[in-house]
């Protein structure tokens, strides 16, 4: 596609349920990020995938959060046993990646998934 696509755009879930958020990056982009945006909290880094390297999971807030990226393309962020404090906008971004003589680390963002835990 022309841009980063995220689905669903909105998700309301009950506390304790599991949710899956999907991200389709721009074709050919090797780097993929997940961020969380909460009111007044800015952009919180969650996880970073780069090519076939092991992902940088240093931003995941708890073991209820996990993410995978299949075939170097689509990524899914899973939140188990959701809590009210998980309510936020989850943003996905992709970039061409840092490899090569002219690394392109500019990230392109999707519209985000607004998650509300009730």
């Amino acid at each position: 596609g022309a841009g980063v696509s995220q689905s669903p755009s909105n998700k309301v879930t009950e506390k304790g349920k599991d949710v899956e958020l999907r991200c389709d990056p721009i074709s050919g982009h090797t780097a993929l990020y997940w961020y969380r945006q909460s009111l007044g909290q800015g952009l919180e880094f969650l996880i970073y995938f780069q090519g076939n390297s092991a992902p940088d999971k240093s931003g995941l807030p708890s073991d209820r959060f996990s993410a995978e990226r299949t075939g170097g393309s689509v990524s899914t962020l899973t939140i188990q046993r959701t809590q009210q404090e998980d309510s936020a906008v989850y943003l996905c971004a992709s970039s061409l990646g840092p490899q090569g003589r002219r690394p392109q680390t500019e990230a392109f963002f999707g519209q985000g998934t607004r998650l509300t835990v009730v």
Binding site: Y33, Q41, G42, Y48, A93, P98, E106, F108, F109
Partner: protein, 113 residues
Amino acid sequence: AQSVSQHNHHVILSEAASLELGCNYSYGGTVNLFWYVQYPGQHLQLLLKYFSGDPLVKGIKGFEAEFIKSKFSFNLRKPSVQWSDTAEYFCAVYTGGGNKLTFGTGTQLKVEL
């Protein structure tokens, strides 16, 4: 690990006033620097970027930023703001050491008529 600091969390200006938003980062090596903007109800989009070369970079909508290596700063400027510049502005840094894009906490800019 690298970090990014944006000192102004909320800024209110009148139209035609000049703007400068501060951004400092902590990393001693080579950096790529970015400013992103998020207009109300819209997704994040790139305003400008610095990879190398001329430390004064110009972006869209009359914005510019200056990379001062000795001060680890990348401040955003605009000589005359418009009401339509009301948005949230994020500074970001990519470093080979951290190997990921790190954002500041953002500055909410409100421009009043």
